[in-house]
Symmetry: C2
Subunit: 218 residues, 2 copies
DNA sequence: ACAAATATTTAGATTTGTCTAAAATTTGAT
DNA sequence: ATCAAATTTTAGACAAATCTAAATATTTGT
């Protein structure tokens, strides 16, 4: 599998939301910042290789084998992210670009040794679950902060957007994975929230709340 | 710089024996297992990019900038080799292929953090020196075992051939970097040596002796 | 149901890196 | 100094991955 093929496989996987549903040419093109025509060419090739199922004009999804490849890539990506944060003291907004390269390194022994060195972590620095060697992982039970009723509290377990600007915003506002957040008040007009984090009461916009996952603590 | 360009730069560097001497098209082709015509195409491109100096029919060498690029690649390659051995318990004959991939990862912060994590090592698992961030490194004063006079002893500091078969042979015969070796006797007929390592007297062929570097102790 | 808008594919071109076969140059043995 | 052998370059082809522009198919709104 070439680096480029691998990136397409990952894109199809992620757009399929872990359900391996059918995704459109345009969605893939958007996700990968390429043109739809390039996607058509590539998914034909992936189909020929037995990695994807592609029907002209109908869309594409991964085969069972393709799904295994995707999970291996996701596993490697997230393990490297943990490595960068835990062992090399990278900030959580600095790891994605490098992991995007490291995920393509071909060595099963390397991946598994890394897993062991890191103590078999279950989640990456953004709260996303890490597939095990045989491709299993538990889908986290988590809800977006903006969908949580007023008065409820939960533990911050992940982010939907893991772009540097968003992660930096969280750092600046002292919101980190593992923190407990209580929803104090919701503004009807713009959907903004008044929340309590580490004793402090702060206001956050709907866009922020729509990108932060909580696990409800009953 | 693409992955392919980087591998050519490294090849030219290594064939230049650290002296940055002029190397021929055929030498590069041999080293990289490609065809001379492919090398011609590539060195033209490297020349256009200001990385190499190429004169038709005369050969190629690196520019000052090209040399810097080469040293960065060598630095990354050897740091990753140390990482694999020290942190992931790879054997010294298993690291080359993986380091060949890892050396192309682009992140200065990654390289320097890795260097720090490893405690700024001076040599890789094969005894080869690791260039510092600014491209400096001491050329080891070392001699091949088959060029050392009878009666002399030295410390094993490196290997010339770092292929798996040779490294495995050394493991099997309990010869490791750091060991003291005393040359007891040299056979005129085939150049084989009788040596003392860790109290044991063993016989090794000329081919073996021609690939093991010692630093003379005294 | 059908036209307009949108999505998707095809056709043809480009870049990168490689190859084979043929031509040109250099080397080195007499 | 000559010329055959070895080396190196050129010419032309190909596969991978991408793009633009044009053609085709699907979806949507009335
Ligand atoms: Mn990637
Ligand atoms: Mn992540
Ligand atoms: Mn390499
Ligand atoms: Mn090495």
């Amino acid at each position: 599998m070439t680096l480029s093929e691998e990136d397409y496989i990952k894109a199809i996987y992620h757009l399929g939301k872990g359900e391996n549903s059918i995704v459109s040419t345009n969605e893939v093109a958007e996700q990968m910042s390429t043109k739809p025509s390039s996607v058509t060419d590539m998914v034909k090739k992936l189909s020929d290789k037995g990695v994807a199922n592609y029907k002209k004009y109908k869309g594409v999804c991964l085969t069972e084998y393709g799904l295994k490849v995707a999970l291996t890539l996701v596993r490697k990506h997230r393990l490297w992210e943990v490595f960068l944060v835990e062992k090399l003291n990278f900030a959580w907004d600095e790891v994605h670009e490098v992991a995007e390269q490291l995920e393509h390194i071909k060595s099963e022994k390397l991946t598994d040794s890394l897993d062991k060195l890191l103590g078999f972590p279950q989640v990456d620095p953004h709260g996303d679950p890490i597939p095990s060697k045989n491709g299993e992982f538990k889908k986290a039970v988590k809800k977006l902060l903006n969908e949580i009723p007023v008065g409820t509290s939960g533990t911050c377990v992940g982010v939907r957007d893991s772009s540097a600007p968003f992660l930096k915003f969280l750092d600046k506002n002292k919101i980190a994975l593992g923190d407990t957040i209580l929803v104090l008040e919701k503004e009807e007009f713009d959907g903004s929230l008044y929340i309590q984090v580490k004793g402090e009461d702060i206001r956050i916009s709907d866009q922020i709340a729509a990108n932060l996952y909580l696990k409800i603590t009953e």
